[in-house]
């Protein structure tokens, strides 16, 4: 259970990126966060694992208040929050296996990490996860030898390696072509529901968001201006999120071919 209350973030240069956002995600639920560029989507999810330090408000994950944690406590909580990035953020020169095992760095001692001696159980689990994301046989490939879609699968496996209680996903598909994007997003949603954990997914592509999410949050200029089911995302909602004139453009550019597909997704 993730409870966010009146979260604010003002950057050092005085820019108010978040102006009092509140959100409760009760259990396993895929939440898409949409909104125009600069609305504060990245800031929002990065506040949750404190890659960005919030200026005000509270964030509780399964009852633990995250905003008050010290270094040590913070690391303990980060261990259980998986994060997936737009540019995958793999360590390019290391192998797929080493990248996936990096998901356990918070859980093993420095000496174990130093010698790259991860417990056998971790190694076994990494093999399983790689098979699960469709990368069986790539364990010893270097990360920089993979395609974008494959790299994102490594990123997903790394996040799952953490045995996460929450998934934070920032534009997972923006660097991928539409077909790969769909399969990656489907995989993330599938895994989140398998694990029974909430996932917050920032996404530009409204069509994809409507198709895959159970709930949609609309951010605009640092405020949550929409919170509802995909079926409730209508013209009024979109113009509230993207501005009266801009939403058609946003929709057309990014969701063209998914628009009708989105309908199917909602019906099922």
């Amino acid at each position: 259970m993730l409870e966010i209350d009146n979260l604010t973030k003002t950057y050092a240069d005085g820019l108010q990126a978040l102006r009092g956002c509140s959100l409760t995600v009760p259990g396993a639920e895929v939440v898409a966060v949409i909104g125009p560029s600069g609305a504060g989507k990245s800031t929002f999810i990065r506040c949750i694992n404190r890659l960005v330090t919030p200026t005000g408000g509270s964030i509780r994950l399964d009852g633990t208040e995250l905003t008050a944690l010290g270094e040590r406590g913070l690391r303990g909580v980060r261990r259980h929050i998986g994060m997936i990035f737009q540019e995958y953020n793999l360590i390019e020169r290391l192998t797929v296996m080493e990248n996936v095992l990096a998901g356990r760095l918070g859980a093993v001692s420095f000496m174990q990490a130093l010698l790259r001696r991860f417990p056998q159980a971790d190694v076994d689990r990494a093999f399983e996860l790689l098979a699960r994301v469709g990368l069986e046989g790539y364990e010893n490939s270097r990360a920089d030898a993979l395609s974008g879609g494959q790299r994102q699968r490594v990123g997903i496996a790394r996040a799952l390696m953490q045995e996460p209680r929450l998934l934070l996903v920032d534009e997972p598909t923006s660097s991928l072509d539409p077909k790969v994007a769909r399969s990656i997003l489907a995989l993330i949603c599938e895994l989140a529901s398998e694990l029974g954990i909430p996932a917050l997914i920032n996404i530009h592509d409204v069509g994809l968001a409507l198709r895959f999410a159970r709930r949609v949050i609309g951010l605009s200029a640092g405020e949550i201006v929409f919170d509802g089911a995909p079926a409730e995302v209508d013209e009024a909602a979109l113009s509230r999120i993207y501005g009266a004139d801009d939403w058609r453009d946003a929709f057309r550019q990014e969701g063209e071919e998914d628009r009708h597909v989105a309908g199917e997704g909602m019906a099922s």
């Binding site: 890659l51 913070l74 261990r79 929050i81 793999l90 360590i91 390019e92 990490a113």
Partner: protein, 266 residues
């Protein structure tokens, strides 16, 4: 565009050109004064110098290699000095570099402290460090190793720190997001990115240090330079020339080995 703003642009343009011309004249004046001061324009002395130089070169020919057996040990000393000195520099530079890189330093005070230390070490020439270490630990290669090593830290540490600062922050952030501590972030997120460049800089520095080690003997800090100054003192110019040729040959060999190593790192 109005007439006045046009004139104003021309005026600033002209002023800029005058300033540039003035600066150039000043520079030429400084060069001329320096040249005069050290006697570059002293035609008579130069004229005398040319035949003296020719005579010296005549005295150097043919090179006298008869003492070659005595140079083997000093050459090995020189090589060992360059390897050990570089190793000391690299080992000390790694932790210093992480302190002197903005993105990994534990504290601002440590950042400025290590930056200043590195600058200082670069400022003191290795020959002067050689003199100091000869005074401290006595004649021989140990003084040379310490001088070469300590001076190298200044440059190797700075290059390492810059490499760390240029590391891609994205994967580092991803490692931090897994709950890894600072040491693990460096070991797993930073080091794999910077290692090839670290190796490249180290090998490059070794090539440089071999050249530096050949002259350490001039101040008594061991190596082939000691033989050189010995022969020079007894005016055995043909032997001096032979030693110079040997140094030249070994420098070429070391540079070749260094380039080959660095090519393999890429």
């Amino acid at each position: 565009m109005s007439e006045r703003s046009h004139d104003a642009i021309l005026a600033t343009e002209r002023a800029r050109r005058y300033r540039a011309g003035g600066a150039l004249l000043a520079l030429l004046a400084v060069i001329a004064a320096a040249g005069h001061y050290v006697g570059v324009f002293d035609g008579a002395r130069l004229a005398q110098g040319v035949p003296a130089l020719l005579e010296l070169m005549g005295n150097m020919l043919p090179p006298d290699f008869t003492g070659w057996q005595d140079w083997i040990a000093p050459l090995i000393d020189t090589l060992a000095m360059s390897v050990a000195g570089t190793a000391i520099a690299v080992i000390a530079s790694v932790p210093l570099a992480f302190c002197a890189a903005r993105n990994t330093t534990p504290s601002a005070a440590l950042y400025h402290g290590t930056r200043n230390l590195l600058n200082f070490l670069r400022t003191v020439p290795e020959l002067i460090m050689g003199i100091l270490f000869v005074a401290a630990v006595g004649f021989g290669p140990l003084a040379g190793v310490l001088a070469v090593g300590l001076h190298s830290i200044g440059m190797v540490g700075k290059f390492f720190a810059e490499t760390v600062e240029h590391a891609d922050p994205a994967p580092i952030e991803a490692v931090r997001a897994t709950g890894a501590g600072p040491a693990q972030v460096i070991w797993h997120g930073v080091l794999p990115q910077v290692l090839p460049r670290f190796l490249d800089v180290s090998v490059y520095r070794w090539e440089y240090n071999f050249r530096a080690s050949t002259v350490m003997g001039l101040v008594g800090a061991g190596g082939i330079g000691f033989e050189l100054i010995g022969s020079l003192r007894i005016l055995a110019y043909r032997e001096v020339f032979a030693i110079l040729l040997v140094i030249l040959a070994t420098v070429i060999v070391v540079d070749g080995i260094g380039s080959a190593l660095r090519r393999r790192i890429q």
